[in-house]
Subunit: 311 residues, 4 copies
């Protein structure tokens, strides 16, 4: 029995459910370490239906850049990370020739941990062939984000869509220290916002690249983790006067029942985020917009770049 | 020879080019004064092609509410003006039965005099049947505002669109003291933003109501007005030693040449706006959003209100 | 052994550590229920040193207004709550005659749950005798908030200071549903911001009223609550094959050790806040600014109101 | 008779009232051109009372950097200008040893052309010895900006104060294309904000460096310039049938009377600013904050940097 309250947007964290040395069928996995940036870059590639099932994520590539230095607002550092990010973007899109790019900053500018998308959007240099949108969230517009994007895509017909979004992680340690880049777009249930309909090739008929940073974990995750840790500690502790642990390990179903008892409605409706999230989100928006501005300029300058008005 | 640099978005100001007692063919004109609000409400109705030609604006109704008290941030006053505005809105739409309404706040949230639309948008209470969008401007998105609206309209298929926009006036006295309401939408060349393609029935196939407030006059207008005033003064002044004016009145072509000499490029690219525009724009956004929230709630509650997702 | 990570700014929550029917010496306690607003108003008055010790808060009055309807952005509701709040303010200050009032919106405008103070500040109507400041936080200014306020107080010499701040609660249920009003100002260790030096009569030599709303609970609190609940459940559960509970209740010291093991550094540096905190903080800032604008106008209009420039 | 409505904050523009080749007693004047940045740097040094009288500005150094490229949001360009600006700052302060610096971003964040100061402030990296404040304007705080700064200066006792402000120019061409740096601080009557009391050595007993960018010209200036130009054209034009100009040049008193007739109250209360002021102000805030962050880091790292708390 899976605990569906303990959600993650990171393919990497789905991979981590398996033991390190287990080979998950249908999934390719690569790691690369870069010492000076203290960065671990991971590629998870889901190759087929079997991989999709095992991972609970759609087929495609997921590149994850992890480094605690992502939190540092140091200009030179920002440029290094931006360079790696645009490099990964180029890598993931290598066969493509892009003449028009639509960048979409998802999320709510008024809620700090959800403001990454809008903050990137306001730093994008638009122009012929480079378009940018910050559609807001359902609570502001009354409309699903998907509908707004769909409408705009029909009108301007971009070669590709790049969406930026705040994600949810399963692990507070990863929050704001990880950038995930994927060519699978965004799938239902994701993130902390309200994008209930997928924003991906299936729904938009355009390739959708998603760049996401985990900004929160759910309140439920903290409760679950605390429960798991505590049960672990107690199971290892010896019962007074006996040689056995205090109790046998709970089954996953028993654990889920316990969890439901422990989780209040208020906690379920809450999220957990670092105290200095405002500074970090600003810093990350600089890195991501730098990478995108470089990437877009380079792409769009290569080919002829018709305005969508000429279409 | 018309001076096209001296632009106005107000039908009322087009009407004022004619003498007060001249009846303009094809144009109906009504005034109503309300003493306690120090408000003059004017209806200009352009009835046919002849009226369109005379006025240089499309056929339809233009209601203008003028009062210097619109600048006062007094709550009771705000409520009075909001009531009149929603009343005029109801009047202009009387035959309609609206189940879904799309409100669009045009303009640039980062430029104070152009921020009226976005500031109204953030105060709209959305919900089933009430949708709201602040699409930004060309310099932020790379896209014409029209394209974004068109796309969204196709997706959610509203019964009506209400756009809010900052306007340009010919007269600094009207800036921030006038609200114009029209059922003709927005036509090219308008306002201070970049809505180069019309946002109206012709382009969207939906009725478009536009609510606008003049927030600026162009730099060119100030130059033109100063020139006109000065030439008037000089023409009336006696030449030394003669009984005639200093010079004969200039022809309109000569005036235009003078004007071109007087207008620098920097002035042409500038606008003129009141020093306290930030407070006034906030105040006006409260009035307009109050009126819209009342109007929308009332409309949408009357009929069945399907979500656009069910369409 | 007290768990100092489990912090609360609410006197009410300190009171709740004691059984309901226990009379805490040196503390007066009153409750009042108002059905139509679903509101419980509580007065905790700490009368003397004995009360201070028991409660861990300084001597003075603490009025708490609790209602889940505080989250509702309904205008009529907002006005009702504002009226109660200004009434409580009048009550707590009844003997005073105020001619000059300094309002200070504490907190970080860029971090949504900490933005309450700045958001109230921007809605205050200033004027002769009514001054307002949003000093920012240490991370923005490099200065302790206290220093900025101290300096301004020396310059303008107000009769009273009213500070608005985001608080930390021990209980997620109270977050955004409670307003605390106290005449004791702000004492070290409080809130989610960085006001390490007290902002109160002792430090400023002026009466300081603090209006606070709990916007977060600490990550540590969620861990602690989960641990407590789980230990409670396990202690009540029967051990397999025996009649006794799984284990004896832990001592508070043992619990604290467990807690330390369970709490990661990341969780310690995190806070927990409702998903829709952006809308709620806006709503609360409307209520509080309404109350303050009414109160200030009434006070300052009563007496002669010299500008501080004349002092 | 001087036209006091035609105000400038730029010493350079005061200098321009004199013919180029006239040597103004008590004023030193130097120019330096840099081709690649298309920049003209001017030093106006007012040496004594005589110079003060001639220029209508206090004794001290005024460095003006002029380049239309200041409007370009190109990163490499920004870095070049920032380098020049911090260089000029170092030059003007060469004898000083600074251990604590207070940066003050003057102006109104809500009014785009007045938002330069606050926008710089939010980009300053604060820390030990580097403090930063954005005090807002009178209409927001009810207090003179001077009072707030005075209070904070008393508390933290900085070695120097650097204020950033939006200025008024006499010439629209200079708006947003000029940075003025002066060691005389800010003197009454300046700028577009409300700093009625000087912010300078005389009032604060600390050296005050002011960095300003003209963001507006007054409405009155446009009227005056148009009048002057038009009178010039007419005076040069031949009267029909005669060989003399249409009229003799007006005396400065006659001109002032004409000007008063031409200037409406609304125009007097208005300012003129470029249409794309929002983008330019953002760009300039990047340049100035870059320069200040470099300068402050370098200064404060050199000496021992006590926190003001230890004082």
């Amino acid at each position: 029995m899976e605990n569906r309250n303990i959600y993650t947007d990171l393919a990497l964290e789905e991979r981590e459910k398996f033991e390190d040395d287990v080979e998950v069928k249908g999934v390719r996995f690569e790691e690369n370490r870069e010492e000076d940036l203290k960065m671990l870059t991971t590629l998870v590639e889901i190759l087929n239906r079997r991989g999709e099932k095992a991972m609970g994520k759609p087929k495609g590539k997921y590149v994850t850049m992890e480094s605690r230095l992502l939190r540092e607002p140091e200009k030179n550092m920002q440029e290094q990370f931006a360079k790696r990010l645009s490099g990964n973007l180029r890598e993931i899109l290598k066969e493509e020739r892009l003449k028009t790019i639509l960048i979409v900053g998802l999320g709510n500018a008024e809620a700090t941990p959800d403001a990454l998308g809008p903050k990137v959007a306001e730093k994008i240099v638009v122009g012929e062939g480079i378009y940018c949108l910050a559609p807001g969230v359902l609570a502001q517009t009354g409309m699903e984000t998907y509908s707004i994007i769909k409408g705009v895509v029909e009108e301007i017909n971009p070669d590709i869509i790049i969406v930026i979004d705040s994600l949810a992680s399963r692990n507070l340690r990863r929050v704001t220290t990880t950038i995930q880049l994927t060519d699978t777009g965004i799938t239902p249930g994701s993130g902390i916002g309200n994008h209930r309909k997928g924003i991906n090739y299936e729904t938009l008929n355009k390739k959708v690249i998603a760049i996401g940073v985990p900004m929160v974990v759910s309140g439920a995750t903290i409760v679950n983790d605390t429960m798991e840790k505590l049960l672990g500690i107690l199971a290892r502790a010896k019962s007074p006067g006996t040689l056995t642990g205090i109790f046998e390990a709970y089954s996953s179903e028993e654990k889920y029942q316990l969890f439901e008892e422990l989780l209040s409605e208020d906690t379920e409706q809450a999220f957990v985020t670092p105290k200095d999230v405002d500074e970090i989100v600003e810093n990350l928006s600089v890195i991501i917009s730098m990478a995108l501005n470089d990437f877009c300029k380079e792409q769009v300058l290569c080919g002829k770049t018709p305005s969508y008005n000429e279409l």
